[in-house]
């Protein structure tokens, strides 16, 4: 458990960023592999950029409005 936590802290250390990027990658994998979702493939690039920016905004909002600050 300690090792997993150390790796998590080393690579990202932020749950919102981790979940945001993981969700984006999962959606891209679905869009790329499910043939029914093929028409959405053209939006993969913009979707990824928006997902990255949303994760950044979400984690910074949490930091700014945290009651512990």
């Amino acid at each position: 458990m300690k090792i997993i936590k150390a790796i998590y802290n080393f690579i990202v250390g932020d749950m919102i960023i981790l979940i945001g990027v993981a969700l984006a990658v999962a959606v891209l994998a679905l869009v790329n592999n499910v043939s029914a979702l093929a028409p959405l493939r053209g939006f993969s690039g913009p979707f990824l950029i928006i997902a990255v920016l949303s994760s950044l905004v979400a984690t910074l909002s949490r930091e700014a409005f945290s009651p512990n600050r």
């Binding site: 990027v21 493939r41 990255v52 920016l53 950044l56």
Partner: protein, 274 residues
């Protein structure tokens, strides 16, 4: 030589080496230089071994598309972490890295332990381990960036090796520069604009991470590699907007706290003077 890769590795390494240098300097001054330098050299050798073995293994065994997706995702995570911290420091939500404070704090700890005289040249295990640990921990991030950046910047097996070599050269140049400047001034390198460097590297890692993750999923970016500049401009614009917004939020929060603190005083004054 891949200059973008080398520059990114140089900037990221410079920040980390400045942080590691502070601890090595404290150990050198407080314990002795022999233990400090041996610890730093041992850590550098460990890191070089790590880059060489991991880099070579990945170059030989992992297909390029898988590599780009996995490494692009890792770079995104890493880049967003650096960018978030740099934005928070610019906005005043997080304290800036203070090398002089770290220097004094570590020195006080070593003095409390009894290690005061640096003139003794005998090997000190504690000093060696402290120096080794700090260089290794700070250097691990550099090794990570060297491997991931070096591998993803290329298109074939041969140039993948050259990507790692370019990144390693960038990191080596940063290390030598920090050691050279540090040896000349012999004080913590407090004037290095660490946050600016972290901000730039955060933008670069996030940009390349997005680009390579997208390519790994078959995204055909418009204008091909030129789109990297557009991506960097998008992230730069967003980061500046976020800094301005967070500064405003902080000012509002501060004003609200002052208002809350002064409110009871006003009421009391009114009660005394009706």
């Amino acid at each position: 030589m891949q200059w973008v890769v080398a520059t990114a590795a140089f900037l990221a390494s410079a920040v980390e080496f400045v942080e590691a240098f502070t601890i090595v300097l404290v150990v050198g001054v407080t314990v002795n230089w022999r233990s400090a330098l041996l610890g730093a050299l041992a850590a550098a050798a460990t890191l070089a071994l790590l880059v060489a073995t991991l880099g070579t293994a990945i170059v030989q065994w992992v297909p390029l598309d898988v590599l780009r997706t996995v490494i692009g995702t890792l770079l995104l995570l890493f880049g967003l972490k650096w960018l978030k911290n740099a934005i928070m420091r610019y906005a005043g939500l997080k304290a800036r890295h203070d090398e002089e404070a770290i220097y004094e704090e570590t020195r006080a700890q070593l003095r409390a332990r009894g290690a005061v005289d640096a003139s003794a040249s005998r090997f000190d295990l504690f000093g060696f381990l402290l120096s080794y640990k700090s260089v290794l921990l700070e250097g691990l991030e550099v090794a990570f960036i060297v491997i991931t950046f070096g591998l993803s910047a290329a298109t074939s097996t041969v140039s993948r090796s050259s990507g790692i070599a370019s990144a390693a050269l960038g990191a080596l140049a940063a290390g030598l520069l920090v050691i050279l400047v540090g040896a000349l001034v012999r004080v913590p390198l407090a004037k290095v604009p660490e946050n600016t460097l972290k901000f730039v590297v955060g933008i670069m890692l996030t940009t390349f991470g997005t680009f390579w993750t997208g390519e790994g999923f078959g995204v055909a970016w418009p204008l091909s590699d030129v789109f990297l500049l557009i991506l960097a401009a998008i992230y730069l614009g967003a980061a500046f907007s976020l800094i301005v917004w967070l500064k405003r939020v902080k000012q509002q929060q501060r004003a609200q706290v002052i208002e809350n603190q002064s409110a009871p005083t006003t009421v009391q004054t009114q009660e005394v003077n009706p």
